[in-house]
């Protein structure tokens, strides 16, 4: 019996690509409980590139890194423009461990390669796609430093792809009220997830059935569809 399916399954589900990485034991970085199911291993992976695209992706990325920055991990943003400090703080990021880089867009790869040396998390909106050689070197460096790299545009070589496919703001009513929360539908390797980002208090919140009072918003109160965790094949130990 060939071991290929098992190897494929290990690499896909647990991010184990080589035999030695089984022993490395680098647990993913903790994330907000609402965001944890999006990631294959329940947290922000280390030594891999995560691509996070679609509407509200910057908010989602900032919410993802928030828990790590509160644990004294340093995070740098490249090519994000001028983020609003108030929303960064609302999403829970520790302002003492966040740095924003305002460098020429064409230099993003050089800046990232300098920052990889000492930062734990990079949040990058790349201005261009790197060449195959540059990409391989970037990946190798990310893997070697065991740091987390989040790209806000699709980047080849990323091992986790999260795409926000639908956003629905609520609170406004044609000239009445104000924006209150945003229902986000995100598709990742673990299935389709719905949650509020930002929720009423600016942080991620689970999508509740009562929240979805907007007419014509579709069956978003239903549980996640697609290949959910319960349908996945399970690895069993063999004696």
């Amino acid at each position: 019996m060939s071991a290929a399916p098992l190897v494929e399954q290990l690499s896909r589900e647990m991010g184990i690509s080589t035999a030695t990485s089984l022993f490395d034991g680098h647990p993913p970085r903790p994330v907000h409980p609402v965001l944890a199911p999006i990631f294959r291993r329940g947290g922000l992976p280390r030594g891999e590139i995560v691509s996070l695209t679609g509407g509200q992706s910057l908010s989602c990325a900032l919410a993802t890194v928030a828990a790590a920055t509160r644990e004294q991990k340093w995070c740098a943003g490249i090519g994000l423009g001028e983020p609003a400090v108030s929303s960064i703080a609302d999403l829970g990021v520790d302002l003492d461990h966040f740095v924003n880089l305002v460098t020429p867009p064409q230099d993003w790869l050089r800046v990232a390669s300098i920052l990889i040396e000492s930062f734990d998390i990079l949040l990058v909106d790349p201005a261009y796609q790197p060449s195959a050689g540059e990409r391989a070197r970037l990946l190798a460096k990310v893997r070697e430093r065991k740091m987390s790299f989040i790209s806000l545009t699709p980047l080849q070589g990323s091992t986790e792809q999260i795409e926000i496919t639908d956003v629905h703001w609520s609170g406004t009513d044609h000239g009445h009220g104000r924006l209150r929360s945003c229902l986000v539908e995100a598709r990742s390797q673990t299935g389709v997830h719905r949650f509020l980002l930002p929720g009423p208090d600016g942080t991620p919140a689970p999508a509740s059935a009562g929240q979805d009072a907007v007419p014509g918003a579709g069956p978003s109160a239903e549980p996640a569809v697609g290949p959910g965790p319960e349908q996945r094949p399970v690895i069993r130990s063999v004696s």
Partner: protein, 541 residues
């Protein structure tokens, strides 16, 4: 050795009110109340006679005394007038310390040689100060600085050796005179039943330390009359600043670097001679025509080379900025932008860079901005990999300029663009607006993720522009047109709400109407209409 720490504290009652009266040139008989965050924080004697009390709001103060001058608190004014006023003391005593605006401390052993007893010394000092400044001073004498500050509040002298008894009778709220942010700590003490300093002092020091950490330990020390950390003497201002005037103005960075290294070595020698360590340095550059650039840098290991590097970066950035004609565009970190902007040559398109480079920088100045003891400057075990981070970020600053690496801070304001305070790495953040003050009408959560400022057109049905009135929008917005020419349909929009800010000052007064819209692509935008034009001020990304 209680005699060593015996201190005289002189305090001006209601100092903020006195300073504000001087600033606005009011006669001493005018009732003055100083307002901060909507509450009166100080009122002078005529105002208090009229019934104004600390903690009143503006309306209550105006009701009790309609002729009172109600002024807004300005920390700068407080400090400036006080340090100018007490200059007279420099000739009278060898050592003294400014504890806070309005309060100063003189160690009594500095006076013992010149005066017969404590009473004579106090009388001589107060009459000299009153003669030069005209302010009222309350003296207080006790064995520790903390006790002397409490004593000065009621103009008493605590005899030697009785300080502990004096302190133990004080209420726990007396800890507030230290000026530290201990409101929460004091609340906890009160809830625990510790109503007086004596009750706190009766506890075991180790228990207090393990429960409340260093702040509790310090409060316990103060309450039990143990001497506090030694005060830093008032430094004669000329001591720790160096300046060099160039014979020939230059723009060459090697020349500047060479001069800066010499100047920095000189300054650091002086700092070390005082047994201190410099952790922040202010670099002052001047060019012809009264233009100057001043920035404060924090440097981890302060060496000549590090200072010379910062000076070179600042000079290059400044000269480049001066050479460029000033554009209307906003740049990140603008809070720390160059002080003086060329405003001459009205019809000229802007100063010619070639022309400026012939003038160059004419003088350099270095000022030791923050001094600590060597113990305070050592790295702690608990700062995780700061050294490595600092090294990386400084390397990037060297490559792309100091303004390329920005750290976030919050300041006061109504819109996200106003609350943003991006400061270059290792520079001291200088908030222009107080973040603690109330900002009525500021945007609540959820707030936009990125800040923008683009003029856009908001169109109603039929392509007519949407007007904004205090009562609401003129018509339902249907389309938004960006300056690039692209348009997007608006599928939903919020109620509009007007914000009037700075109405008390015509030069800063703005009236804007805020609106949130959701476009057909699902994106939410924050719009603001100011003087007849819609602007896109934030995006929810």
């Amino acid at each position: 050795m209680s005699a060593d720490t015996r201190t005289l504290v002189l305090t001006v009652p209601d100092w903020p009110a006195v300073a504000a009266a001087i600033e606005h040139d009011l006669s001493p008989g005018t009732p003055v109340a100083v307002l901060h965050a909507g509450k009166v924080i100080a009122a002078n004697a005529p105002a208090r006679t009229a019934g104004i009390a600390v903690g009143n709001n503006k309306r209550a103060a105006g009701f009790r005394c309609p002729e009172a001058q109600i002024l807004v608190w300005d920390e700068d004014v407080d400090n400036r007038h006080f340090s100018a006023g007490v200059g007279a003391l420099e000739d009278l005593v060898a050592r003294f310390t400014l504890l806070a605006p309005g309060t100063l401390a003189v160690p009594l052993d500095a006076l013992r040689h010149g005066y017969a007893d404590e009473a004579a010394a106090v009388e001589a000092l107060i009459s000299a100060l009153v003669a030069t400044t005209g302010w009222e001073f309350f003296p207080g004498i006790a064995d520790t600085v903390f006790a002397a500050r409490i004593a000065a509040g009621r103009a008493t002298r605590v005899p030697p050796g009785e300080t502990v008894a004096f302190l133990s009778a004080q209420p726990i709220t007396a800890l507030e005179v230290t000026g530290e942010n201990w409101t929460e700590l004091i609340d906890v003490f009160v809830h625990l039943g510790l109503r007086s300093l004596g009750a706190l002092a009766a506890l075991d020091a180790t228990d207090v330390m393990s429960r409340f950490g260093p702040a509790g330990r310090r409060a316990h020390d103060l309450a039990s009359g143990r001497p506090d950390r030694p005060l830093r003497d008032h430094l004669r201002t000329e001591d720790l600043q160096v300046e060099s005037v160039l014979d020939v103005p230059t723009t060459r960075s090697d020349t500047l670097g060479f001069l800066a290294r010499q100047l920095a070595a000189d300054l650091l020698t002086r700092v070390r001679a005082g047994g201190l360590v410099c952790t922040q340095i202010t670099i002052d550059l001047r060019a012809a025509g009264d233009r100057s650039s001043r920035r404060t840098w924090r440097i981890e290991d302060m060496t000549e080379n590090a200072i010379a590097d910062r000076l070179r970066w600042q000079a290059e950035g400044w000269l480049a900025g001066l050479g460029r004609p000033r554009t209307g565009g906003r740049n990140l970190g603008r809070g720390r932008s160059i002080g003086a902007v060329p405003t001459d040559d009205g019809d000229d398109p802007g100063p010619d860079p070639e022309d400026f480079s012939e003038e160059g920088i004419t003088a350099l100045g270095l000022i030791a901005a923050e001094l600590t003891t060597p113990v305070g400057a050592t790295k702690s075990l608990f700062d995780e990999n700061t050294g490595q981070i600092t090294h990386t970020l400084e390397r990037l600053q060297g490559l792309f300029g100091p303004d390329a690496v920005l750290v976030p801070r919050l300041q006061g304001g109504w819109d996200p663009a106003e609350t943003n305070l991006w400061t270059p790495w290792q520079q001291t953040a200088a908030p222009a607006r107080d973040p603690q003050a109330p900002w009525p009408g500021s945007l609540g959560t959820p707030r936009p993720t990125t800040v923008d400022r683009v003029a856009v057109d908001v169109l109603a049905a039929g392509g007519l522009p949407v007007e904004a009135r205090p009562a609401g929008l003129g018509a339902a917005p249907q389309t938004i047109r960006f300056p690039t020419g692209t348009t997007e349909a608006i599928v939903d929009f919020s109620g509009s709400w007007p914000i009037e800010s700075g109405w008390w000052d015509p030069s800063r007064s703005t009236y804007r109407t805020r609106l949130q819209v959701v476009t057909e692509s699902g994106q939410a935008l924050l719009l603001s209409r100011e003087s007849g034009q819609w602007y896109l001020t934030g995006r929810y990304r």
